[in-house]
């Protein structure tokens, strides 16, 4: 019998993302991290006094903490080489016409202004360290919805920002949360007042253009009682030869009876260290829904956490991770059941190919205060060849009574029998494989906004080098 050749799934078509602009930044901080640099960033951003203090304290915490050792090795990250603040040559505006041409072209290529016209209720666009564009539909403003960049929020809604900022993800949480606290810049602020349903999604897009830079945007979303929102976060960067760092922070507050869907498609280039922290605090009867697609980056550590703080609070987590050559993507989810009758549903798919490494890591904690907690975890991995790796590391810590916890993990390859079945129906082998991979991610794809579902379909365009034996 002829030796079986390996099957390769094509990478995402990256050309679109890889077009880099000339660096026209007006200011760049020195690389590395010192109190002087932090003070300088704070001054340039016109921070209020308390924020400058917050940054400096965070820096102290950062210096006191070690690199985490439990996940992928972060040794190749040298903070002395990372430029933490890159100010683009653009002022924040509400009109695309006023955005400098090269930056506007970038977002045009990514389809942001187009999507804004048809399917979004508001858009934020960040370029390197600063937000260059922000808009929101008039009727939402009338209903009291606030959607703006964090810097504006810090000026116009300082009391709200001060009340919530980094309370859910405190700087001492881990080294990169501390780093974020010290050098954060940009990001989005959303406030949805009680009872208001934001009908069309809001989308913020984060683009990191400068080489050797870090992006540390902060996203703060507050959805008040019985309100609802769908927020979409997109990120990408062109490929550089030096390491870029993304250490964003997302804090989501879902109040009583409120509902928030947070969708992310992350498509960083392969020189990116993506060390992002995302957390949601969900009150009584509230619902947080995460949809998370991790396709890019060199190394990712991403485990959105849901703290189910009020009775009947609920979390739905849907995630897909695709690790190819040179990628080590360590993703998953974490849930803390801290009130009675809270429930969580975690559903993930990981694909690894061409030597890529994909790890699913999750932590489910049920505290003593959370009787009748319900949690179901389903993670499935598909390895497309013998070079790739897939691991599943679920941790469960159950203290509450009457907990109903289920975990199902599957790691596999495309079965020859499934291929035989489909080819016996006249479908050629290449298409059969593509169908199986598409089918594998289908439960996730159907949760994605349409344009991202299409992007994901591109991802499973399969190139078959050889044929079955």
């Amino acid at each position: 019998m002829a030796e079986k050749k390996k099957t390769y799934v094509e990478d995402i078509e990256r050309t679109l993302y890889d077009i880099k602009n000339e660096d026209h930044s007006v200011y760049k901080s020195h690389s590395g991290l010192t109190p002087e640099i932090v003070r300088d960033i704070s001054k340039r951003k016109n921070d209020p006094e308390w924020m400058t203090e917050f940054r400096l304290k965070s820096l102290e915490v950062y210096n006191s903490l070690e690199l985490p050792t439990w996940g992928p090795s972060l040794e190749e990250l040298n903070m002395d080489d990372i430029v933490t603040y890159v100010q683009p040559d653009a002022k924040m505006t509400g009109s695309w016409e006023e955005v400098p041409e090269d930056i506007k072209d970038t977002f045009d290529r990514l389809g942001i202004p187009e999507a804004e016209k048809t399917s979004l209720g508001g858009v934020g666009a960040q370029y390197d360290s600063e937000v260059v564009y922000h808009s929101i539909q008039e009727d939402m403003v009338k209903q009291g919805v606030i959607y703006t960049d964090m810097e504006t929020a810090l000026v116009e809604h300082e009391d709200i920002v001060k009340e919530y900022f980094m309370t859910l993800v405190p700087p001492k949480d881990h080294k990169f949360a501390a780093l974020h606290g010290a050098v954060w810049s940009g990001g989005s602020f959303v406030y949805v007042p009680e009872g208001v349903h934001v009908e069309m999604p809001l989308q913020s897009y984060f683009r990191l253009n400068a080489a050797g830079a870090g992006q540390f945007e902060h996203t703060l979303i507050i959805v008040e009682k019985n309100a609802s929102l769908h927020f979409i976060e997109g990120c990408s960067a062109p490929k550089h030869n030096v390491t870029n760092l993304h250490a964003g922070c997302v804090e989501l507050f879902v109040k009583e009876g409120a509902r928030l869907r947070y969708s992310t498609i992350e498509n960083w280039s392969r020189n990116m260290m993506n060390l992002n922290t995302k957390r949601a605090l969900v009150e009584k009867d509230g619902i947080i829904e995460w949809v998370s697609g991790s396709f890019g980056s060199h190394i990712s550590c991403l485990y959105p956490c849901s703290v189910l703080h009020g009775e009947n609070a609920r979390c739905e987590f849907t995630g897909v991770t695709f690790a190819s050559k040179g990628q080590n993507l360590d993703t998953g989810a974490s849930v803390i059941h801290a009130a009675p009758h809270t429930s969580a549903n975690i559903n993930t798919r990981t694909i690894s190919k061409a030597g890529g490494k994909a790890t699913y890591r999750s932590a489910v904690k049920v505290t003593k205060n959370a009787p009748f907690a319900k949690c179901s975890v389903n993670c499935e991995s598909l390895m497309l060849d013998n070079l790739s790796r897939s691991d599943t590391l679920p941790v469960m810590d159950i203290e509450g009574d009457e907990a109903d916890i289920g975990h199902e993990a599957k790691i596999g390859r495309i079965s020859d029998e499934a291929i035989f079945y489909l080819t016996s129906r006249g479908i050629d082998e290449e298409e059969a494989r593509a169908m199986i991979v598409r089918g594998f991610v289908e439960p996730i794809a159907k949760e994605l906004p349409l344009e991202y579902a299409l992007e994901m379909n591109n991802l499973v365009n399969i190139e078959l080098e050889g044929t079955m034996g």
């Binding site: 019998m1 499934a418 080819t423 006249g426 050629d428 169908m435 199986i436």
Partner: protein
């Protein structure tokens, strides 16, 4: 004699070093219904898989022709496009692909033409009704969570939608209750006509009720050891395979 559709001559085949078919010959003419009987482990399912071109098995000698064309080297999807169809004994569960999506993709692949969604849907729905299937199953993932009976019915649905020339039915009736066998049997009867043929493995004569069996083959130890008309089924049902085995060995 009817025009030959499938012609297997002195076929030797197996998996790795183990020979399973040891000089098997068999031919099925256009419009004919053939039944293969044989004790467990005699190689019946292997034969079906080899006719369909399962890559696990290697043909070492002999020939297989379909409509006069040698197909020993043909890939499974090519055999399907020529007009072969296998109804699996245990159909695969394939998550994320709906019955409708798979069938439409298959139909397009086999006919080489674009299959328009609406007429296709209409035909699919009508066929499902004939098989007393809930039309909602068209939107379910292929065989995922289906009962044994539902899987078998879905196989017959595919048979009727894809319209091959030769249906290989591998114990399509096993694990079905009386009513389900009836439905499947009617489905097979609907498929069968002057042009289309069936090669059926069964332990149950009920599936044959709506069909006129032309020929029965007894497969033992990788070879066809006896052939005859439908009366052979009765004979084996009452006497078992032992006497044939004795004749072989004696």
């Amino acid at each position: 004699m009817a025009e030959q559709l499938l012609e297997i001559k002195d076929l030797h085949a197996g998996v790795e070093d183990k020979e399973i078919l040891k000089g098997l010959s068999l031919s099925v003419g256009k419009g004919e219904v053939h039944v293969i009987l044989g004790p467990n482990g005699s190689g019946k399912s292997t034969l079906m898989n080899i006719i369909m071109g399962h890559p696990k098995y290697t043909v070492t000698s002999g020939s297989m022709e379909f409509e006069g064309e040698d197909m020993t080297e043909m890939k499974t999807f090519e055999r399907s496009r020529k007009g072969l169809f296998l109804s699996f004994q245990t159909p695969e569960e394939i998550p994320g692909i709906t019955v409708e999506n798979m069938l439409r993709t298959a139909k397009q692949a086999i006919t080489g033409e674009k299959v328009k969604l609406l007429p296709f849907r209409k035909e699919l729905k009508a066929t499902m009704q004939e098989l007393k299937m809930d039309p909602e199953y068209a939107q379910r993932y292929l065989n995922v969570g289906f009962s044994g009976g539902e899987k078998k019915r879905t196989e017959i649905l595919q048979l009727l939608m894809l319209k091959p020339k030769l249906a290989l039915l591998d114990e399509t009736d096993s694990g079905l209750d009386v009513d389900a066998v009836q439905i499947v049997s009617e489905g097979v009867a609907k498929f069968h006509n002057e042009e289309n043929s069936c090669l059926i493995i069964t332990h149950n004569t009920r599936i044959l009720e709506h069909l006129k069996v032309d020929k029965v083959h007894v497969l033992m130890n990788g070879q066809i050891v006896e052939e005859g008309g439908p009366e052979l089924i009765e004979d084996i049902n009452s006497r078992g395979f032992a006497h044939i085995r004795e004749e072989q060995e004696g």
